[in-house]
Structure formats: structure tokens, C-alpha cells
């Protein structure tokens, strides 16, 4: 335990807690109060209505699919960026964060233009009888775009920190390169991979801006949960909106807990007995 030598604890902590109370804690208290302002039966009927249930299935299903795709290609990209030297590596590395920097509304209209039946990619898919925009596939494609950097950025430091001696030992003991990867490198990177996939999943579940343009927003078919919150608000059904908001918030808590668990595992895997 460090002794307090530096000044400023009361000032900085007091200010930041005050700030968070105003911006976060009081508004979240309002959310909980509104959600429970009516009867429990009403709250339950709102959050379990068939249309809302269909939106949960879509939001969580599409997010799961997109984050798995990102897990695969994110791992590959992180591997390539940390292990190999090739022309364009720095540019590729810098542009991985594009989905973080590009506003979601811009991503939304760009992806829609791309995957619409008359778009560059959409017209190719249409020849094969596949429709992406205004369909569930479009939602998954948009979620792949916005979630990709999470996996790469979580894995990069971990792949860099893997000690080379272990690989050399594996090679000396006669392991092929693929065996070394499967038995030595991959298990060491697994917790970070799962962390990245979960982060990408969490972001995808709540995503709104890039989806509303590409999904078509058909009830029961392409209507995501955040969109239902918006439409409840537009109908001045504050309690309904608060109820669905609370469900999403609880889901986010669960995802965060999962991320923390994977990070704990990662910390204990990379530095055993520290």
C-alpha cells in the first residue's frame, strides 16, 4: 500500500465522482425508476412480448455470428500484423481502427449502398440469389464491420508478449510448426481471443447507427432491440422503453462480467505465478 504523498485526492476524486453522479448515476436511477413505475405484470408483458422476443433473438444471434467471424479473421490479422514484415503493414495496422473512427451513420449508409441490390457487392450477390441489404445478412455484415477492431486490438499485445523461447523449445522437441501453433501458441492466446470476441459481441448487441439503414426495420424480421427502444419512445411509451432498456443494460452487465473473467484468465495464463 502506497502512502499518500501526492496531493489532490479529495479534489480529483470528488470532482470525478460528482461528474459521474450527474451524467451517469442519476440518469440510470431514472431508468430503473421508470421501468418499475407500473406494475410488474405490465413490465413483464412488455419485455416478453413476441415482437420484443423476436428482436432479442435477432440482436443476439446476429451479434454472435458477426463476433465469431471477427474472431477468425481478427486472429488471423493480429497474427499477420505481429509476426510478419511485409509492405503496407503499417498502413494496414493504422486502418484497422477505421470502424472505431468512422461515425456509425456513415458506415450505415456506405454499407447499404454497397450491399443494396444495385450496389457493388449487392449486385454480385443478387446474381447468386442472395439479398444482403434490408435482410438479416446485411445486419451481420454491418456488425462484422463495427466489431472487427476489438479482436485485433485485444490480441496484438498478447501475441507480442508470447515468449519466443517456448516456441524454440517446441521446435527443438520436434514439433512441427502447426503443432507448435495448436498446442503452444493458440492456447496461450485463447483467453485474449475470447476477450476480443466478447467485446465485439457486446458492441454488436447494442449497435444502432449502422444497422437502421441496412436492416429495413421490419417487425419480427429485421427489427433489432435498440430500434424497439426508439420506437417505444416515439410512441411516448416511456415505461416500455425503460423496461427494454433495462433488459439490454442487464445483458451488458453480463457481457462485461464475461469480459472480466476472460481478462483474469488471460492475466493468469500469460504470467503464471506473478
Amino acid at each position: 500500500m502506497k502512502r499518500r504523498i501526492l496531493p489532490g485526492l479529495p479534489l480529483t476524486l470528488g470532482f470525478s465522482i460528482g461528474y459521474l453522479t450527474l451524467v451517469v448515476l442519476i440518469p440510470f436511477a431514472a431508468l430503473a425508476t421508470k421501468a418499475f413505475s407500473g406494475s410488474w405484470q405490465h413490465l413483464w408483458s412488455v419485455i416478453s412480448s413476441p415482437r420484443v422476443q423476436a428482436s432479442y433473438r435477432l440482436s443476439f444471434g446476429a451479434a454472435a455470428l458477426a463476433s465469431l467471424v471477427n474472431g477468425l479473421f481478427g486472429f488471423l490479422t493480429a497474427w499477420v500484423l505481429t509476426r510478419y514484415r511485409f509492405p503496407g503493414r503499417r498502413v494496414l495496422d493504422a486502418l484497422i481502427d477505421l470502424p472505431f473512427a468512422l461515425p456509425t451513420a456513415v458506415a450505415g449508409i456506405a454499407l447499404t449502398a454497397l450491399y443494396a441490390p444495385n450496389g457493388w457487392v449487392g449486385s454480385l450477390l443478387a446474381k447468386g440469389g442472395v439479398s444482403a441489404a434490408f435482410n438479416r445478412l446485411g445486419i451481420v455484415l454491418a456488425l462484422i464491420f463495427i466489431g472487427f477492431p476489438f479482436v485485433v486490438r485485444t490480441l496484438q499485445p498478447v501475441l507480442l508478449s508470447l515468449s519466443e523461447e517456448v516456441e524454440e523449445a517446441a521446435a527443438l522437441l520436434g514439433a512441427t510448426r502447426f503443432q507448435t501453433f495448436r498446442r503452444v501458441l493458440f492456447p496461450a492466446a485463447l483467453p485474449a481471443l475470447l476477450t476480443g470476441i466478447t467485446l465485439s459481441f457486446g458492441r454488436a448487441v447494442g449497435e444502432y447507427g449502422s444497422i437502421v439503414f441496412i436492416s429495413g426495420n421490419l417487425p419480427f424480421k429485421t427489427e433489432i432491440t435498440p430500434l424497439l427502444i426508439v420506437s417505444k419512445l416515439e410512441q411516448y411509451d416511456y415505461q416500455g422503453a425503460a423496461g427494454i432498456g433495462l433488459v439490454m443494460l442487464l445483458a451488458s452487465f453480463a457481457i462485461l462480467a464475461l469480459v472480466n473473467a476472460f481478462q483474469w484468465w488471460n492475466a493468469h495464463r500469460v504470467n503464471p505465478k506473478h
Partner: protein
């Protein structure tokens, strides 16, 4: 993002890996090609599409978009919003990072998690909570109406929703850096008789300036581009409560595609500038951290 600062500890970047721990050239180039293809198809193509669509009907129409008064109002509102949200969140970020990295206190972990909250809740929830608090049927709604104060469907609502979604960025940029730097220099300054604020301005601020700038730039990019949270509280009143991303949505839904993409290209340029600056700052921050650790 912040993890990149730790890259310097890697030995791999300084020594060349040996043959036994390297894949064959065929495997290497296949993997590199796959990641380039994925990157081009999923990340780069949407960006290219923005500019292609924006200029599809010619440059004249492109530049005409930026003379439309309603669009100019949207740009002004976006600049105004980030001019308030970014400084507020900068002060908060520095204070929070100072408290978290310089002291041990009960609930520090919880406090640190709370700072990340906007990064893992849906942006729609970031708008929803303020409607439930300040909206006409919200908890404070009747009181606000009685005093003729309008927050939701008005500029204050847009600013506060933007503050909510962007407050983690400065703190997130600073915490790993300040943790890595330690407090030896601050302690030395105090021993030599410097006052608390002197230590901050003369010792800490020069040490953290690149990390701080990093956070401010990401905070600003998000503030100018935020859509979900702002869309919920804005009410979409033309020329009054439309930020640039909301104006893009309106133009798009009105089938003014060229104008929508022209405005989108402006935000894309902002995103590219942000990435460029971010890469430069990461490089400078790494240098600074290396210096302070020598």
C-alpha cells in the same frame, strides 16, 4: 487501442525471429493475402463507397451540399456540441486518471469500471436515460416544463448525450500511460518544494501531453460522429437540433443520396485525419514513455 503503447516492451520488434519459429513463405503469404482481402472487402470498400457515391453526380453537386443553410446549421451545431463536450470530458478525464493512478482507495476498481460504462452500453440507452429524466413524461419533466426549460429535443439534450458517450476516452488514454510512468518525478518535485498545482502543470502535464492529446482526439471524433444517443434526444428539428450525422440520415431518407454522401465524406475525412493523428501520437507517446523509463 491503449494497448499499443505497451508494444515497446516487445523484444520481437528488435530481434529477427529465427527460422525454426517461422512459417514457410507459402503459409506466410497466404495468411497475409487473406487478411488484406478481408480488410479490403469489409473495411476499405465501405470507405471507398462513401467517396464514390458522393462524387457520382459530379463535383458541382458535391460542393453545392455545403452551401445549403440547413446543412451549415447542422455543421455549426456539431462544432458547438463538441466544443462543450470535449473540454468538459478532458477535465474529467485528467481528474479521474489522476485519482485512479496516483492513489489507492476503496471502490477504485468499481470507479474504473464505471468510467468504461458508455463503451459497453448501447448508444440508444445513452439517449434513453436522459429522455426518462428530462423528457416531458420523465422524472424531472413536469418541473422543467413549469420553469420553461427545454432539454430534450433541444441543444442541451444533444450536448449532455454527447458528453455521456464520450467521457471515457480521455481517462482511457491517460490511465495506462500514467500507471506506466509512475510518480517518482512528482515526488521529487514535491520534495524540492513545489506546490500541488505546480507539480501538475510543470511535471505531470508535460509528461502526459501525448496521451492526453490521444484521448482528446478520439473523444472529439466520437463527439462529432455520435448518432444513436443524439438521435434519441434530438427530435430531428431541421436547422435546430440536427447534428451532421442526423442530417446525413435525413438527407438519405429523402433520397438526396449525393448530398447525404457528400456530408458523410466530410465525416470520413475527419475519421481519416483522426486515424493519422492517432498513429502519429502513439509513436510520440511511445518515445516519451521510453525516455521516462530510461
Amino acid at each position: 487501442m491503449a494497448g499499443a503503447i505497451q508494444d515497446l516492451t516487445s523484444i520481437r520488434s528488435r530481434t529477427r525471429p529465427r527460422r525454426a519459429t517461422e512459417e514457410s513463405a507459402l503459409v506466410r503469404w497466404t495468411l497475409i493475402s487473406i487478411s488484406f482481402l478481408f480488410f479490403a472487402a469489409f473495411l476499405l470498400l465501405p470507405l471507398v463507397a462513401v467517396f464514390a457515391e458522393a462524387f457520382r453526380r459530379g463535383a458541382a453537386l458535391y460542393f453545392k451540399t455545403f452551401t445549403d443553410p440547413v446543412t451549415l446549421d447542422a455543421i455549426k451545431l456539431t462544432l458547438f456540441t463538441s466544443a462543450i463536450a470535449v473540454p468538459c470530458n478532458t477535465v474529467f478525464g485528467v481528474a479521474a486518471a489522476w485519482a485512479i493512478t496516483r492513489f489507492q482507495f476503496r471502490g477504485r476498481e468499481f470507479f474504473s469500471t464505471l468510467i468504461d460504462l458508455p463503451l459497453w452500453v448501447s448508444p440508444v440507452i445513452g439517449g434513453l436515460i436522459y429522455v426518462l429524466l428530462f423528457g416531458s413524461q420523465g422524472l424531472l419533466g413536469p418541473w422543467l416544463i413549469a420553469h420553461h426549460w427545454k432539454i430534450i429535443y433541444s441543444t442541451p439534450g444533444i450536448v449532455i448525450a454527447t458528453v455521456f458517450v464520450t467521457f471515457p476516452f480521455v481517462a482511457r488514454g491517460l490511465i495506462p500511460l500514467m500507471q506506466a510512468q509512475g510518480i517518482a518525478e512528482e515526488e521529487a518535485a514535491l520534495t524540492l518544494g513545489a506546490k500541488g498545482w505546480q507539480v501538475f502543470w510543470r511535471v505531470t502535464l508535460p509528461k502526459i501531453k501525448w496521451g492526453l492529446l490521444y484521448g482528446i482526439i478520439l473523444c472529439n471524433a466520437r463527439a462529432m460522429g455520435e448518432f444513436g444517443a443524439v438521435s434519441v434526444v434530438s427530435g430531428h428539428i431541421r436547422g435546430l437540433t440536427n447534428t451532421v450525422p442526423l442530417q446525413i440520415e435525413i438527407l438519405y431518407n429523402e433520397y438526396s443520396f449525393a448530398a447525404a454522401f457528400a456530408l458523410a465524406s466530410l465525416l470520413s475525412l475527419l475519421a481519416l485525419a483522426t486515424l493519422g493523428l492517432k498513429t502519429y501520437i502513439e509513436w510520440r507517446a511511445r518515445q516519451q514513455l521510453e525516455q521516462s523509463q530510461h
